[in-house]
Subunit: 208 residues, 4 copies
Amino acid sequence: MTLSPKTRVPKQKRSIDKKNRIMDAAMALFAQKGIHRTNSKEIAAEAGVAIGSFYSYFPDKHKLLTEVLDSYLCDHFDRIWHENPAPDSTAYDRIIRHYMENLLRAYDTAPDFHRETHVLRYSDPDVKALYDRETEKELKQIATVLHQFKDHMTVTDMEAASVVIHSAAENLAHKIKFMGSMDEHRLVSEFTAMIYRYLSKDGNAGEG
Amino acid sequence: MTLSPKTRVPKQKRSIDKKNRIMDAAMALFAQKGIHRTNSKEIAAEAGVAIGSFYSYFPDKHKLLTEVLDSYLCDHFDRIWHENPAPDSTAYDRIIRHYMENLLRAYDTAPDFHRETHVLRYSDPDVKALYDRETEKELKQIATVLHQFKDHMTVTDMEAASVVIHSAAENLAHKIKFMGSMDEHRLVSEFTAMIYRYLSKDGNAGEG
Amino acid sequence: MTLSPKTRVPKQKRSIDKKNRIMDAAMALFAQKGIHRTNSKEIAAEAGVAIGSFYSYFPDKHKLLTEVLDSYLCDHFDRIWHENPAPDSTAYDRIIRHYMENLLRAYDTAPDFHRETHVLRYSDPDVKALYDRETEKELKQIATVLHQFKDHMTVTDMEAASVVIHSAAENLAHKIKFMGSMDEHRLVSEFTAMIYRYLSKDGNAGEG
Amino acid sequence: MTLSPKTRVPKQKRSIDKKNRIMDAAMALFAQKGIHRTNSKEIAAEAGVAIGSFYSYFPDKHKLLTEVLDSYLCDHFDRIWHENPAPDSTAYDRIIRHYMENLLRAYDTAPDFHRETHVLRYSDPDVKALYDRETEKELKQIATVLHQFKDHMTVTDMEAASVVIHSAAENLAHKIKFMGSMDEHRLVSEFTAMIYRYLSKDGNAGEG
DNA sequence: TATGAATGAGGGTTCATTCAT
DNA sequence: CATGAATGAACCCTCATTCAT
């Protein structure tokens, strides 16, 4: 009886389920068929919901996308950094490899969805904003780790270093997960080597 | 890095016949307004051509896109590798920096078009094929350069190294050119440092 | 023009029960946003009532409209004829001017609502029926007044005269209240002159 | 081959026919079923045209309406003032009656369409603009006529007089043509009497 | 060969009304 | 009786592509 906002704010369990059903259906279809090859009617049908319900939970198709993406990216971040914590070790190469492996595993939840939204990053301001937020969070984490080892490192511009490392890792993950580039194991090893030698004061030691 | 500096056939200023006029118009509009916000009528109008002519030169809109992209990527490759040949030097860091700078300059011709097509790479098989071909060419170039200096390098899996380097460079270029990430100069320096230390047998020397 | 000055039952401030709250809300929104730009959910929300309740008081949106209009038109009539009784005078021009002024004042209660429903008169049979009833009442009043002064008048077809006068007055009111036509005062004076000379046996006397 | 405007400007005979077919179909349907009960597909179907053609001639449904109305109102004006010129007489009442009769006849072309658009006058700015222009033209004509007879008239505020007369005539026409009010002949006579006595210096003469 | 009028499937969104809780 | 989630027909409009001229 309060002056209701235009889109329903689900309060009852049944409703929350429904909103989630729509989001799940959307995520699945976006991944399967691509985002702009999926229309709102299909999403509603896949969720087992009338088209009218769709529009009572989301003001439009685009807002649905950003809500799904928002939720996905939060999960994604947690999977990289919280689900499987880094080994408490001074073997930096272990930490680097662990990071890259976690990153790759994080993509396994919904690689197609990630790919489909990632491409919108460059053309859709709302999607860009969400990815930028995610990138900021990632950069902060990387910078924190770099800081811990700063006495053993040659790098001085930590901020730039974070960007370069993040950028390299991200695109490598995309090559592996989106394009099936080469053997994953070989690339992880090479990436680990690259970052290790880049950071390490004496470039020779390492895993093996 | 002396690979055939054969003069690049200038593909710009080719507004000679109708087909080329259409391709130029498409490229301009795709860059300006985005690929799926540009419709075939607009392209024909911009090219000063009837919509019917459009369809006598291209079976459909998608084929137009791939032809334009094909031509663009050939140019792009030449701009990176042939337009401004690498210094004949053993100062590897110079060569690395030179590569990254050339790469960034190559994007300046049509950054918006590059961005717009790049995103389709992940969802459109034909676009993917063209980018894959381009990537193959790039990897071969990088591998060739690595080979020249293999005695001064720690790296053994050259193929993996090429992928990792290319991947890092490409994404950094995208961050800089598509997203306006940080200061270009700082990132180029940091990238150079990363690759240099990664490859170099003794990780300490370098530019400065 | 002394027709029963029985005190008008104040229909405003009737926000007592749900049904009245809904009717008030509807009237306000119809006026504010236009009738077909107002949907049933908004009315329910504005009334602080569930949409389900709406439909337990009114079989459909259209019935709500006609009930609101019915009530409004009764008010409207009272405001013209009972609220501010005509001067007991033989100066006919005074009486004419008084009528027109009362009419204009009556519109001030809810000009936007009046305008919005008035237009439906021509396309909606139920709305037409209500307005026709209202018009009948008005015509009767005008005829009664004309009758009182029949000895001083040239007019013989009183029924036709009533229609012509009512019609002129009504449309002038709409021009003034709905369209902001010209200066109200000038038009009222000119209308008074027109009707006065039309009715009066010697066309020259009058107010000034 | 000129940079084409978004909606087709018909140049060939066939196209002009088509645009006219659409406008005629729209006018017929608007009259028959009401403006907002007529959808664009129906109009296209009635005109024997694909929905896509509809939208190549008109940017949207609303523009179609205003174009049809524009054309209709120009016709309407001509029918009142040019088709059947007023008698060259000094019998003012003849002129008044002639005006009212012409006005009524003008409505006979498309009374339902007139009614349907007239109601939008109060809520649609573009429709209002067209009707306002029409009203201006009418007022000018009336003022011109009044001017011709100014020596025989009592009225001094000609502008206000024009508005009052036009307003009375218009609404009377609506009552007669839209609502079937009373006998047309009686009302025309009474209207003629009213205006004649209103204007005439000695209020007694006249037709009969 | 060139033209541009014509096509119509398809997409996003609204809202009056119902009915299970 | 009150609630508000659910429904789905209906609407407006776009645009890749065809084909008669």
